[in-house]
């Protein structure tokens, strides 16, 4: 079992911002949640203005500010990334992750990244072993990602890998984890495939309740027996496997302690829940967080429907609101992939 210091889920003390600083990307992954790749990024001074505002808000709320900076591909404009890192370090952000496809990470960029103390890790993505991955992320992308991993590790940076799991790759979760261990990957994250953006037509990839149970059970077994790579299982539904294990499962952060900022300043409750709740160039984050009718509605567990309604795991789960929205058209619906019998 994990030591407590490895428990990263910090719901009470942390406010998490997933910040998409650009839509521009050099890859065209089949399952991408972006609807387009128009590089409508704002100017650097506007990015810095947003960054300061997000730090102010976390400070006001007495929370540690945690950032995932991503895109599109954030390294399509490395100058912006480094300016943001300078700002967030100076504003005492608690931790910063960069979510990248890794293909634009040159030696010079990696060398510069090493100096940022608040940079916790770089998150890259793989969708399975080579053949499966390359069908989704493009020819030779598996090898390029492995090269990027090796290069980052050579420089002593912490690397996590995200895998989006559907019917198409569910049997490759553990084989990929074993492969990643050989490359000294630190952290492995799996998340459910949701058909939206570029992948809105790929509904056949969505896992059934039994399939998601099988995938999560295997991941949990692996998690218990090995620490390399360390599985991060802070996701809704994992609590069903062992409600007494504090190292797995997480309450859906929507409306609780997280927001997504898009390149044009739009604010979403979660990147996978594409409902605009405001724009930072039109109003303040405070106005959005305090007054959004959507957020007030979704914070109220009484409003949840289906299996999630009055479920005993509401305090540690709530189901994934984005999956409910994508598959049922109703963000308050019961989580359609939940295998618990009501």
């Amino acid at each position: 079992m994990l030591d407590d210091h490895l428990n990263e889920f910090n719901y009470e003390e942390e406010f998490y911002f997933q910040w998409h600083i650009t839509n521009g990307c050099n890859l065209r992954c089949k399952h991408c949640y972006h609807a387009d790749y128009l590089n409508d990024s704002v100017q650097l001074n506007q990015l810095l203005q947003i960054g300061n505002h997000l730090c102010d808000a976390a400070q006001k709320w007495g929370k540690k500010a945690s950032f995932s900076i991503t895109g599109g591909e954030p390294f399509t404009n490395p100058d912006n990334i480094f300016s943001l890192l300078e700002l967030l370090e100076s504003r005492d952000a608690d931790k910063i992750d960069i979510l990248t496809n890794g293909t634009l990470l040159t030696d010079s960029i990696i060398h510069k990244l090493k100096k940022y103390k608040k940079l916790r890790r770089l998150q890259l993505s793989l969708e399975g072993l080579k053949e499966t991955n390359d069908k989704i992320r493009g020819v030779n992308s598996y090898n390029r990602t492995i090269e990027a991993i090796d290069n980052l590790k050579k420089h002593g940076l912490i690397v996590s890998i995200m895998m989006t799991v559907g019917k198409h790759n569910m049997d490759e979760v553990i084989p990929l984890a074993e492969e990643l261990a050989k490359h000294d990957v630190d952290v492995f994250i799996i998340d459910r495939f949701i058909p939206e953006g570029q992948s809105s037509e790929l509904t056949e990839w969505v896992l059934s309740q039994e399939e998601i149970k099988k995938v999560y059970s295997r991941a949990y077994e692996y998690f218990i027996k090995t620490l390399k790579p360390r599985f991060l299982l802070y996701r809704t539904l994992f609590c069903l496997l062992n409600p007494d294990d504090p190292h797995i499962g997480a309450i859906c952060s929507v409306g609780n302690n997280a927001l997504t900022i898009m390149p044009n300043g739009d604010v979403l409750p979660c990147r996978r829940l594409p409902i605009k709740i405001g724009n930072l160039f039109e109003t303040t984050l405070y106005d959005i967080w305090y007054m959004s009718p959507f957020l007030w509605e979704i914070r109220n567990p009484e409003k949840l429907k289906g299996k999630c309604n009055h479920c005993e795991y509401i305090p540690i789960c709530r189901g994934c609101r984005a999956v409910a929205y994508a598959l049922q058209g109703d963000y308050l619906a019961g989580d359609p992939q939940c295998w618990k019998e009501k």
């Binding site: 006001k60 303040t284 405070y286």
Partner: protein
């Protein structure tokens, strides 16, 4: 007599689910928990009112001692002004 008005940057919220009341400053991020009476007063201060008008509204709404209402309302208005929730001006 002094008139009071809710600050333009302050929003009021009644959280039906938990029956809680709040005042939020959307400029500074300051947030305040209110009781039902505080919420009632601030809601009426979306339009300018003086102390007597506020007390009259309260007495119409609830059966309470007038002197106690007056004392509590003065205290509440002072506190609200000090925290930037309302502003006052002499009329």
């Amino acid at each position: 007599m002094k008139k009071f008005l809710l600050n333009k940057q302050v929003r009021l919220k009644h959280d039906d689910a938990n029956d809680k009341f709040y005042a939020f400053c959307v400029e500074t991020g300051d947030h305040f928990t209110l009781n039902k009476t505080g919420y009632f007063i601030l809601n009426h201060l979306k339009e300018e009112k003086n102390l007597n008008e506020i007390v009259t509204l309260l007495l119409e709404e609830m059966i309470v001692d007038k002197q106690a209402v007056l004392t509590d309302t003065i205290h509440f208005l002072e506190l609200s002004e000090k925290n930037g929730i309302i502003a006052s001006k002499n009329s």
